[in-house]
Symmetry: C2
Subunit: 329 residues, 2 copies
């Protein structure tokens, strides 16, 4: 690979001159500048970004911390982050925290040590002390924060919409599944649904669950139908849990959506691949990733930011686990 | 954050001494070394990795290039890469190439500019010129290469196994779906299946397809059943395509696995979430990621490598889209 010395030789100038062109410092005659950039092009020369970041005290690296890329909600989110960063010439340093505070801190430290200029964090760890005292901008993603800029979906509204839709479509004995208590977005959607159901005159049960893992969800699905065999509508805590409920209902020979309606939450890609395909509340994961990057880049460039907390809209995706609304009233 | 000056002050030594301790160069008395490391600990001092990588000419960064993280095969692969890199204290610089040669080259350049010490590439771009002339180790993942070290699953054997299993389980009029011609792993599995079917005395059709996208696969599924309405066994090019076939068969009122058996390829996480759950050939994505890292780290450390090309075993995962084998013969 060509070095700065090769470029200087090719252009017939000193290394210091090439350096001035590279770093846009000091005076360089226009003709000389053209000779140098021409030589760089001829030799396919790439300036060393690390050396440059030390010199300019600015890198083009962003740290991205996710709970777990194998959770099907996050690849879309990560892709939105990457596509938007790429437009600005930024690159991603990437880690999974597994919601483990120590692992999170470890990644944050190495992000800083590698001179990232900003961090996007989608972890759900309650303690924010890991982020205090950082001298670079941080944007939280899929997580509300009053102390830091953040981008998140309107979970409460999502819960309200899901409850409203299942009631409107005629379920009379609804089971509302409450997600893990330590995950704020799970609580938000639960509270929204609870609020809406309480306003209606429909009977409903609340069933608490402690994780989003499919293996656990299979057990809750069995429990649900043994405790409430005549439930005719389920508001699941997310799409993975909804999938387990759907399977158990099919196993029990229930007709979907005639005997029982099911609404998920998230709209992960596989929800449209189920049979029958899953009606759900869509969080715009890809767009949330892009939005977080736009906010972060403004903060990095010290541009004015009108909104530090961006709440993204959620929408009902009507598929085949809910009945059609009777439009004749 | 503490600086090297703070450490020197706390330890009562010069900055140069702290630097010698950090970089393990020159003589430092054991007591002094202990005072310095103690001060680092007290102050929670993290040496600047970028400065250190310039000095030592070694970073702890690895570049990871995937086709697309939103393709459900890749999150597991990426997770295997990350978990294994983390053990060695390495960090990931991450990008998606979208199988676009220009984007691939762009990422490779910025990886190099950021002083990565090795690259793992899972792209399927035929031209390898992007990688020629790199002075750091490269391992190809999920891709065979005679020129570079590589880790990949035994696709041909996978095709053979799938064909053997569907024949053993009694399908008589099999449809073999051939995946996109420009993707080598798709060709491998096709050729393996073709070989095995040709050895049997069973009738079969070959149907060519050009992508792994679900929307396309839905069209092929309809086409398949209109051209070969009495097919009673489908060897799909991957799990996404198998999912589309499964849905279309259910829509047509076929009983699975009684009327028709279906075998996928990959064992992506959602295959176990389908109903009926999908029998498939498992590629050990997570383990392949780990294996690629182990190979890469050996190359980085110039350790002896006995095998430059690591072929990982594939296995038949029996679920509910295939019949039980009649063990009474």
């Amino acid at each position: 690979m060509a070095t700065i010395r090769d470029v200087a030789k090719e252009a017939g100038v000193s290394v210091a001159t090439v350096s001035r062109v590279l770093n846009e410092t000091g005076y360089v005659h226009e003709d000389t500048r053209k000779r140098v950039t021409g030589a760089m092009k001829n030799l396919n020369y790439s300036p060393n970004e690390v050396a440059r970041s030390l010199y300019k005290k600015k890198s083009k690296l962003i740290g991205l911390l996710l709970p777990d890329i194998t959770n099907p909600f996050f690849p879309q989110l990560a892709r939105g982050v990457e596509d938007e960063l790429q437009k600005g010439g930024y690159r991603i340093l990437f880690g999974n925290s597994d919601e483990n505070a120590e692992k999170e801190l470890d990644y944050l430290n190495t992000f800083i040590q590698n001179n990232v200029v900003g961090i996007i964090s989608a972890t759900n760890n309650k303690s924010k002390t890991n982020y205090d005292g950082l001298s670079i901008p941080v944007v939280f993603l899929d997580r509300t924060s009053s102390d830091y800029p953040s981008v998140y979906a309107d979970g409460k509204e999502g819960g309200r919409i899901a409850a409203g839709e299942i009631v409107k479509r005629g379920s009379k004995r609804i089971t509302l599944l409450k997600g893990p208590a330590h995950i704020q977005p799970a609580l938000d959607r639960f509270q929204g649904a609870l609020e809406e159901l309480s306003r209606s005159d429909i009977d409903f049960h609340v069933m608490s669950t402690t994780s989003f893992a499919f293996e656990d969800a299979e057990k809750w699905a069995k429990e649900l139908f043994s405790m409430y065999p005549d439930t005719d509508g389920v508001l699941a805590s997310n799409d993975i849990v909804a999938t387990a409920i759907l399977h158990e209902a099919l196993r029990l020979g229930k007709a979907i959506p005639e005997d029982i309606q099911i609404i998920g939450f998230d709209d992960i890609p596989q929800s449209s691949l189920l049979f029958p395909s899953l009606s759900t509340i869509r969080q715009p994961a890809y767009e949330m990733g892009k939005e977080a990057v736009q906010l972060l880049i403004k903060l990095i460039n010290s541009e004015p930011v009108h909104q530090q907390h961006i709440q993204m809209p959620v929408t009902f995706i009507e598929r085949h686990t809910t009945r059609k609304v009777d439009t004749n009233g």
